[in-house]
C-alpha cells in the first residue's frame, strides 16, 4: 500500500486505506470486525482488509437486527468489535440493540459495552432507505457518541478515542470520504457575513460554496462539525459565530429534524445568534435522478446563504 501524505507524526493515507489499516491492526491484535457481505463491492470500498474469519473478520447472516445484537455480545465479551453496516439506512434495523443495550449498559449495570459502529452513507439513485446519512437517530439515545469523520486524521483520532474510552461510538462515514487523502481546515475570515457549520459530505460542498460566494463578495466562515454527540460548542465555534453578521447555518446530510437542529439549538443558546439548518428535504428519495433527495448541493448552499443574508 502506497502512502499519500506524510506528516511529522505518522503516515497518513486515504480514508479508505486508513480504515483498512486500523481494522487490520485491530484484528491482528485479537479484536473482531463483523458485517454482512464484507467481500462485496471491493471489500466495502476498500475499507476492509482481505482477511478471514480465523483472523477475526466475521461474515454475518443477513439478519440485520440480530447482527446488531451479535456485535453487542462481542463487545460484552471484550472484543471491541468494529461493526460494519454498509448502508446507513439499514440502521433502522441494526440500531435496536446498539442504542437500547450497548448505549445503556453502563448506566443500567455499570458494564461497558464499546462497539465501533461503522455506518457508511452514500448518495445518488439508491432509493428511499439506503441513501445518505441517518446519524440523527443515534444522537437521540443517551450513552452513545456520534462522530462524522471525513479525513484520515479525523478517522485516526476517532479510532484512538474509541480505543481509549469504553463507550459505543457511531461513526457516520460517507463513501465520498474514502479517497480523501488530505485534511480539511476551518476557514475563518475577518468580518464574515455568515458561518457555515457543515457535517459529513456536506463539508465538501460547503467548501466549494465558500469559494463561490467569495467571488460574489459574500464572506463565510467555515467550521467543520466532526463530533455530533456529545456536541459541545467550542469557544472557537462561538467566536466565529458571534463575529459573523448574519449568524450561521448547520449543513447536514441527514434530515433537518435530527441532529442539525440540535446543534443549531446549542449554538444559539451559547451565542445568542441565529443559526439555521439545511439538510435533506422532508420527503422520500426516489430512484430517478430528478426524484432523488441528496445532501445540500453547492447551489442549494449558495442559495440558502444568500437568502439568510438577503443579498
Amino acid at each position: 500500500m502506497e502512502s499519500k501524505i506524510t506528516t511529522g507524526r505518522e503516515t497518513i493515507m486515504t480514508v479508505a486505506e486508513t480504515i483498512r489499516e486500523i481494522t487490520k491492526k485491530h484484528l491482528l491484535s485479537g479484536g473482531v470486525a463483523l458485517g454482512q457481505c464484507l467481500t462485496a463491492v471491493g471489500w466495502v470500498g476498500g475499507t476492509v482488509p482481505e482477511l478471514t474469519e480465523q483472523d477475526g473478520l466475521m461474515e454475518l447472516s443477513m439478519d440485520d437486527t440480530a447482527g446488531g445484537g451479535i456485535a453487542v455480545g462481542l463487545a460484552l465479551a471484550g472484543k471491541r468489535p468494529i461493526y460494519i453496516v454498509r448502508y446507513q439506512g439499514f440502521q433502522w434495523f441494526n440500531a435496536a440493540m446498539i442504542v437500547n443495550y450497548a448505549a445503556k449498559s453502563k448506566d443500567m449495570w455499570g458494564i461497558h459495552c464499546p462497539v465501533f459502529v461503522r455506518s457508511v452513507a452514500m448518495e445518488g439513485s439508491i432509493g428511499p432507505v439506503a441513501s445518505s446519512s441517518h446519524h440523527g437517530m443515534f444522537t437521540r439515545m443517551p450513552g452513545i457518541e456520534v462522530v462524522a469523520p471525513m479525513t484520515p486524521a479525523e478517522y485516526v483520532s476517532t479510532w484512538e478515542y474509541f480505543m481509549s474510552h469504553d463507550v459505543p461510538i457511531y461513526v457516520s462515514e460517507h463513501r465520498k470520504s474514502f479517497p480523501i487523502d488530505y485534511e480539511l481546515p476551518h476557514i475563518i475570515k475577518p468580518k464574515a457575513d455568515i458561518t457555515l457549520f457543515p457535517i459529513s459530505v456536506g463539508r465538501l460542498n460547503a467548501l466549494e460554496a465558500v469559494k463561490e460566494l467569495e467571488k460574489e463578495g459574500i464572506t463565510c466562515n467555515l467550521v467543520h462539525i466532526i463530533k455530533l454527540k456529545p456536541f459541545v460548542p467550542s469557544n472557537f465555534m462561538l467566536k466565529a459565530l458571534t463575529d459573523s453578521t448574519h449568524g450561521g447555518v448547520v449543513i447536514d446530510t441527514d434530515f433537518e429534524n435530527g441532529v442539525s437542529k440540535c446543534i443549531a439549538h446549542d449554538l444559539m443558546l451559547a451565542s445568542d445568534r441565529k443559526v439555521h439548518t439545511l439538510g435533506l428535504k422532508e420527503r422520500a428519495a426516489g430512484f430517478a435522478p430528478h426524484l432523488d433527495n441528496l445532501p445540500p448541493s453547492l447551489e442549494e448552499i449558495i442559495e440558502k446563504v444568500k437568502e439568510l443574508i438577503k443579498k
Binding site: L60, T65, G67, L74, A77, I111
Partner: protein, 289 residues
C-alpha cells in the same frame, strides 16, 4: 421419575433451589400486594422454578442471558438474594443499583447479564458473547420472544458458527394471554433448530437434568421446555391453579417416592422461614416495615 444416577445430595440440592426461587417469589408477592415496595412491574416465575434450578446443576459457571423473568435464573445460579431484594426495593445496594427493578437484573458474580427490555435481545447478544468468549453460554427466552425474527436469525447464526450456547425456551404457551397456537403453527424444537440438537420436553427437573447433561458437550443446542406459570405475566395476580400440572407438587411427590420426603420437608420449611426472615430484614433496613 428421578434418575438413579442422581445422588441424594443432588436431588435435595435441586429441591433446595426450587424452594429458594418459589419462596423468594411468594414473599415478593406478599410484599408487593401489601404495598411495601415500589409499584414497579414485576415478573414472577412461580410454577416454572425447575427450569433454572435444574440447569444450574449442570451448567455451573456458564454465562447467562435472561429476559425480563429472571429472578429464578439469578437465584438458582447463585445470585445473592439480599441484593435482589434490595434491587426490587429500588436501593443502591441492589444487584443493579436500583436501575434494574425486576425486569433488568444482573449479577456479574455469576456472569448473569442484564436485559434491556426489548423482547428476545438476549438471544443475539448471548450468541455474540458465546462466539466472542468461546465460553458456555445459556440464553433463556419465553415462547413469545422466540418468535422475534432476530431471535430466529441469531439461533441460525449460532448453529452455523457452532457457538457454545444453549437456547432455553420457557414455553408456557402464552404471550401474556394470547395462546401459542393462535400465533404460530410451528414449534421451536422441530422448526427452529437449524440443524442443532433440540428437544421438546416438560419442566420435569429430572428430565431437564438428563437432557442438559446430554446436550452439554454438543452445543449449540435448543430445549423447549413446556411449563405452567402460576401467576400473571406481570404482577402478582393469579387466575387459578396451573392449567395442566403443578410442577412443585409433582416434584415433591417424586422426591417422596424416592424416600426423601422428610429431608425435603425440612428443606422446604427452613427455606420458607429463612427467606421470609430475609425479606423482613431487608424491608426493615429500608424503613419499609
Amino acid at each position: 421419575m428421578i434418575s438413579g444416577s442422581l445422588t441424594t445430595e443432588e436431588i435435595l440440592e435441586i429441591f433446595r433451589k426450587i424452594c429458594l426461587i418459589r419462596y423468594f417469589e411468594l414473599n415478593l408477592k406478599r410484599v408487593y400486594d401489601a404495598g411495601l415496595m415500589p409499584r414497579i412491574p414485576i415478573y414472577l416465575s412461580v410454577g416454572q422454578e425447575t427450569i433454572a434450578a435444574s440447569l444450574s446443576m449442570i451448567y455451573k459457571g456458564a454465562s447467562l442471558f435472561g429476559q425480563h423473568r429472571g429472578h429464578g435464573i439469578y437465584l438458582a445460579f447463585g445470585g445473592n438474594p439480599a441484593q435482589l431484594i434490595d434491587e426490587l426495593l429500588g436501593l443502591p445496594t441492589g444487584c443493579a443499583g436500583g436501575m434494574g427493578g425486576s425486569a433488568s437484573i444482573q449479577c456479574p458474580e455469576i456472569k448473569m447479564f442484564g436485559h434491556d427490555g426489548l423482547m428476545g435481545t438476549q438471544v443475539p447478544i448471548g450468541v455474540g458473547y458465546a462466539i466472542g468468549t468461546g465460553q458456555t453460554t445459556i440464553t433463556f427466552m419465553g415462547d413469545a420472544s422466540a418468535e422475534e425474527g432476530y431471535v430466529l436469525g441469531a439461533i441460525g447464526y449460532a448453529a452455523t458458527k457452532k457457538a457454545p450456547i444453549l437456547f432455553v425456551v420457557c414455553d408456557n404457551g402464552l404471550s401474556i394471554l394470547t395462546k401459542k397456537d393462535v400465533r404460530r403453527n410451528w414449534n421451536m424444537a422441530d422448526h427452529a433448530g437449524f440443524g442443532m440438537i433440540t428437544m421438546d420436553m416438560t419442566d420435569d427437573p429430572w428430565e431437564i437434568i438428563r437432557i442438559g447433561k446430554l446436550f452439554k458437550d454438543q452445543l449449540p443446542a435448543l430445549i423447549n421446555i413446556r411449563t405452567n406459570r402460576e401467576l400473571w405475566h406481570a404482577g402478582t395476580g393469579r387466575d387459578g391453579e396451573p392449567n395442566e400440572f403443578n410442577r412443585f407438587n409433582v416434584t415433591k411427590n417424586d422426591i417422596a417416592i424416592a424416600g426423601l420426603k422428610i429431608e425435603a420437608d425440612i428443606i422446604e420449611k427452613e427455606i420458607e422461614a429463612s427467606i421470609e426472615a430475609l425479606w423482613n430484614q431487608r424491608l426493615q433496613l429500608a424503613g419499609r416495615l
